[in-house]
């Protein structure tokens, strides 16, 4: 155990897996930086968010590949190589840019195995920094995971803390299916305990971070820490909740959700997406269908509004669901008669 940042935890997983498996490579824009130009320094950035720093000096240009700005071809590069025996890790600088790479992600990576009757294997990982909170405006702040979660054939991981960042990324790289890996931009600097050495967090197993009978809070990614904040405030009034961190939205840990709902009968789903066809509605709908008999209150959905992400500081701050909204929602469902 050591205190590390979310960024360091991801970087550690990349180093370890590239060390362990020579078929693993990373590609993307500026994953090392400094190719061409007048630089003396070959690794000029190590990724715009620093997640791939140190890989080039250690593993060389063959396996740490700077690319032109060609998102669809970047994913295709990793997909094609992964169909041909490698394990490609593509970095799409911002999740929003999946808008350019959705064909290779949705129509290619997600479907090869199925269309080939199980013959193909496409163990690709597509890393995508996502989310609002850094005033990057409407084209650099989207969640996108609701879209990717809706696509059969893809797996979706979204760590909420440094330990999961390391454990889920390690599992993603070793996974034989395509994984889209969502890293929240605003969490890269967040520190926490990270297990030393080899550490894997299995897919499809949510984490029960807090226990309580008052209600069930289901969250993912950055929303988890906001839910924790809300719970601190609620503790004062003796409101204690189960807090479920999904960790992967596909596969979904249905059992952990239903067990908790059966216990509490009251649910708050917290999701950074806008409301329509969101993870919040997905979970709320799932519970309305499979957990109805235990429900004792309306399922509260705490989401962003149905609008793009605004630039101006205060607007963005209120756009993103936060502890206040979560706390209010919990009080609503708990007091529902």
């Amino acid at each position: 155990m050591a205190i590390k940042s979310y960024r360091e935890a991801l970087n550690e997983a990349l180093h370890a897996e590239m060390e362990r498996d020579p078929t693993v490579f990373v590609c993307g824009e500026d994953v090392s930086g400094g190719a061409g130009g007048t630089s003396g320094e070959r690794e000029a950035s190590g990724g715009i968010f620093g997640v791939t720093a140190g890989l080039l000096p250690r593993f060389g240009e063959q396996r740490v590949i700077d690319t032109p700005i060609s998102e669809n071809a970047i994913v295709g590069l990793a997909v094609g190589a992964s169909l041909a025996g490698k394990r490609g890790i593509a970095e799409i600088m911002f999740a929003d840019f999946l808008g350019l790479a959705l064909d290779q992600t949705m129509n290619q990576a997600a479907k090869f195995r199925y269309m080939s009757g199980g013959k193909a294997k496409c163990p690709v990982v597509i890393r995508v920094p996502y989310g609002a909170g850094m005033n990057m405006a409407a084209q650099h702040s989207q969640t996108m995971y609701q879209i990717i979660t809706s696509i059969p054939g893809l797996k979706v991981a979204m760590p909420s803390n440094p330990a999961d960042a390391k454990g889920l990324l390690t599992s993603a790289i070793r996974d034989d299916d395509p994984v889209v890996f969502f890293e929240h931009k605003a969490m890269y600097g967040r520190k926490g305990d990270v297990p030393d050495g080899e550490y894997l967090v299995p897919f499809g197993q949510a984490a029960l971070l807090r226990s309580g009978d008052s209600a069930t809070i289901i969250a993912m990614g950055r929303m988890v820490s906001f839910a924790e904040k809300a719970l601190e405030a609620l503790a004062a009034d003796n409101i204690r909740c189960d807090l479920i961190d999904l960790r992967t939205t596909s596969p979904l840990d249905e059992e952990t959700i239903l067990d908790s709902v059966e216990k509490t009968g009251r649910v708050v789903v917290v999701d950074e997406c806008p409301p329509r066809c969101s993870l919040a509605s997905d979970i709320a709908g799932f519970i309305a269908t499979h957990g109805f008999s235990s429900l004792r209150a309306p399922v509260a959905q705490v989401t962003a509004p149905h609008s793009p992400v605004p630039f101006s500081k205060d607007l963005e701050r209120s756009y993103v669901p936060g502890p206040t909204e979560i706390e209010a929602a919990v009080r609503r469902v708990v007091s529902y008669k």
Partner: protein, 324 residues
């Protein structure tokens, strides 16, 4: 200068072209019966390209194909019966009947799949070329595409990516004059695919796609370039399709007599036969014998496909993931 080919090579090439031709001509008939569902794009007329290209490859090389993929599959060695069964949607098909005509693949043969998304194969081929480069065994990846596919952003990106990373990828452009119902002379603004691709920084050649020998010789030169680490190339082969874009296409966009004329003047099988008899490389007898064997094989393939079981309903939800 022309490359010498052994008698066996020539017989093999003819057998493959003939197999593709009969496979497609037969499908054209069978589709009328309504027994074959979905979209089928026939390759008849373009055989010399697939065969002239794949003659240089072995199972360790990669190809990525298109919606019009039957020819590439056969030329790369996919099992004929498995292909036919797939097109008939049977459990015995190469993809258990889940993929169909547009998604035939055989990964053991280095055939990374036909593809229903025009242009999507190019970045995938570039990825396969990257894998080949990392392995350092002189393997290559071929991206097949048509005159319409080269206007797709994914293909441009793939070409530039291959040049930047100096990968052993060859973009084979089959210019059959049409992208669905639109002329290549309209959709390719520059009117010159080879020159436009060359400007990306690739070695480029253009050759007659109806002449097996022209295709073979052009590819010999490009494969030498790519295998020796000199970077990607592009080959534009002028060719024609003998049928509509897909089965059922009225082809109003073609001059009335175009197909008839092309079947007379641009038939790669006739052209091949003429060439090998001119230089006395092969005797008609040997070729006729192959014709009969091929017809018998296709008959069998159709009969077996029609007799084969459809996949069971459980298959709907299998093969989505390796594990989930």
């Amino acid at each position: 200068m022309p490359v010498q080919q052994s008698r066996d090579q020539l017989l093999g090439a003819y057998r493959q072209m003939k197999t593709i031709r009969e496979f497609e001509e037969r499908l054209h008939k069978e589709i009328m019966t309504g027994e074959i569902a979905g979209f089928t794009h026939l390759y008849s007329g373009q055989e010399a390209v697939a065969v002239g290209v794949c003659a240089h490859l072995d199972a360790r090389d990669y190809i990525v194909s298109t919606h019009r993929g039957h020819g590439h599959c056969i030329a790369k060695g996919c099992n004929i019966k498995g292909m036919m069964a797939e097109i008939y949607g049977r459990a015995t098909g190469l993809g258990k009947g889940k993929g169909g005509s547009m998604h035939i693949a055989d990964f053991d043969k280095g055939m990374l799949g036909a593809n229903g998304i025009v242009g999507a194969g190019a970045p995938i081929a570039v990825g396969a070329a990257l894998s080949a480069k990392l392995d350092g065994e002189g393997r290559v990846a071929i991206s097949f595409g048509g005159d319409g596919s080269v206007n797709q952003g994914a293909v441009f990106e793939a070409m530039n990516m291959a040049v930047v990373l100096k990968l052993p990828a060859i973009f084979v452009v089959e210019n059959n004059g049409y992208s669905e119902h639109t002329g290549a002379d309209y959709a390719v603004g520059s009117k010159d695919i080879a020159a436009r691709s060359e400007a990306f920084g690739m070695k480029a050649l253009r050759a007659d796609g109806s002449d097996y020998f022209a295709v073979y010789d052009a590819m010999a030169e490009l494969l030498d370039h790519a295998r020796s680490g000199k970077g990607p190339c592009v080959a534009e082969f002028t060719t024609t399709r003998f049928f509509g874009h897909f089965e059922g296409d009225p082809q109003k966009y073609r001059a009335k007599d175009e197909v008839k004329r092309h079947r007379e003047e641009m038939d790669c099988l006739k052209i091949f036969r003429a060439a090998v008899s001119r230089n006395r490389a092969l005797d008609a007898g040997a070729l006729n014998a192959i014709d009969e064997e091929v017809l018998a094989l296709i008959d069998e393939a159709v009969a077996e496909a029609r007799a084969a079981p459809f996949p069971s309903k459980e298959e709907i939800t299998t093969d989505v993931y390796v594990s989930y």
